[in-house]
Amino acid sequence: MSTILSLPDQSTARIPKRNYLTNENGILSWLLTGDHKRIAILYLISITFFFFIGGALAGLIRLELLTPQSDLMATDTYNKVFSMHGIIMVFLFLVPSVPATLGNFLIPIMVGAKDLAFPKINLLSWYLYLAGGGLTLWAMITGGVDTGWTFTTPLSTHYVNTNVVTTGLAIFIAGFSSIFTGLNFIVTIHRMRAPGMTWFKMPLFVWSHYAASILMVLGTPVLAITLVLVVLERTIGIGIFDPAKGGDPILFQHLFWFYSHPAVYIMILPGMGVISEVISTFARKRVFGYSAVAFSSVAIAVFGFFVWEHHMFIMGVSNYSTLVFSLLTMLVAVPSAIKIFNWAFTLYKGSITFETPMLYAFGFMGLFTIGGLTGVFLGSSGTDIHLTETYFIVAHFHFVMVGGMLMAFLSGIHFWWPKMTGRMYPEKVSQLAAVITFIGFNFTFFPQFLLGMLGMPRRYAAYPPEFQVLNVFSTAGASILGVGYLLPMIYLVWSLKYGKIAGDNPWQATGLEWQIQSPPLTQNFIEIPVVTQDAYDYEWLERQKEHEVTQLG
């Protein structure tokens, strides 16, 4: 099979001596850095750490569910395990996953800037993340929390005696890290673009991060105040959500989901940006309907604020507002469909190769489509009654979050790894890992759709025996999946030392980031570029290469 991978002659190639990694040395130069690329690396290490903690907890969940009884651990332990799994995976892994690593690394370069607008705030955001993460771990070690990741009142405020306050504050802090990341992106994208870099010359990766940043900036503070109120209710007993005092627990749901629905788009939009880049590069073609894909990101962000009540259809909200929110949910699903088809048609008349990032991107297309379409099952209020709070939902969101975003994340990590480190990973092993992940994923989560249809409720430590067969499948799949995630971990670290030298542009891609050395200089560009080409302008790239050849020759 042919590839577009073009590595420099390994016998002479060198990693450039001066780059952002070698610019300064010592641990302090990292801890006090203002360089967006170094902060991205710091984030990458931290979120990987939390991913494996969350993953280990997922392993415990699946082991417990191997048998119908709660025999591996007591039910309250199980409850703590899945709560921590959800909290860590959502707030400490998936929300920052692509934006804080790849976004941080690439957005300034893609718009042709030397750094993000506020480097110190960027660093602060990482420290806030660490503080939030550390506090979460501390809460976990000192007794955990068993409210589920949704902190449902009045359970969380009056009926559990676990570390709700600590965890709430931890998420509050981590929330600000996300706000600052989003703020930085918006300002950078508006204000720091290189000459000639107009809005419609920006890569779609930037567009999707722009959309996600809007959600981060406007949504996250509502979560923050909600958590503050929960903490106040628990500590001093104010009465805003407490039915005993006249408060309305459903108001908590409104406020929580006002953030947490947009948050699911915070979790998917940056991934969609990755997919646009990857598919275009490996099809060597401009993304089909660039502006439709760009605008659909913004549409998802705007409409995303108007559908939160679909998480509350059975909770005693008014039937009429159910009607409105259900309708809006259907509308918000359409832009995702547009993107999927536009990506598919990007392949049309392309010149396609199948490197690892592309394999993950294909995985994304299939799994996100399944996950998204089952989201529509839930958005239709009549069927939501049957499916809500069952494993159908668990399957839905793992399909979009793990099958969608995590696949996109891995795709992006593989795609930009040579740029970030200057080295290639072993291609064959990584393709194998992609395939293993895909298979393991389906084994793990597809049975859960069936379980949900059959009515098995989520968050159950013990379940009726007739659900066992499907649960065994799911657990078996999860162990395959675990291998699929451990492999990249190993070979990526391996490649840091032994990987082949990648050169500036191993994929022959068009983005600005590929026109500079890898790993890049601290200031990214020696001279701020003047942008004349469109995004994904492969003809421009060809001309550029010829130009170089004639000059060298």
């Binding site: 042709g112 800037a113 508006h190 204000r191 720091m192 673009r193 290189a194 000459p195 000639g196 870099m197 107009t198 809007i214 406007l218 509502v222 459903i250 108001l251 409104h254 406020l255 006002f258 604020f305 108007f306 939160w308 009540e309 005693g316 909200v317 008014s318 039937n319 009429y320 507002s321 409105v324 929110f325 701020i528 003047v530």
Partner: protein, 107 residues
């Protein structure tokens, strides 16, 4: 050195608002405060909260436009303010839509 394109349209220096305007706005705010207090002592039925909020909105607008210089700022800044108000109204309005319509039907 080349200048980056940003969304600022024209490149004039920051507009300096004169103290006279500040003083006028300040007086208007004080008058507005007096008006709300007075209005709250009048029996106006459903108009009471509407008037109170109307005056508050007017006062806030003055602060945003003049004290915070939005009147003299770029389109982008104006758009930013508007989008904040829009999202705020989405939160309040869509939440209220549930509470208000609960009374219509069985809930």
């Amino acid at each position: 050195m080349s200048h980056p394109v940003s969304d600022h349209e024209e490149a004039h220096g920051p507009h300096i608002v004169s103290p006279k305007i500040y003083l006028l706005v300040f007086l208007a705010l004080l008058i507005g405060t007096t008006l709300t207090v007075v209005a709250s002592y009048l029996e106006l039925g459903p108009w009471n909260p509407i008037i109170a909020l109307g005056i508050a909105v007017a006062k806030a607008t003055l602060v945003v436009l003049f004290f915070m210089h939005i009147k003299y700022s770029s389109k982008l800044m104006k758009l930013t303010v508007v989008s904040g108000i829009f999202t705020f109204l989405a939160l309040v309005g869509m939440s209220m839509s549930d509470y208000i319509s609960r009374a219509w039907g069985s809930f």
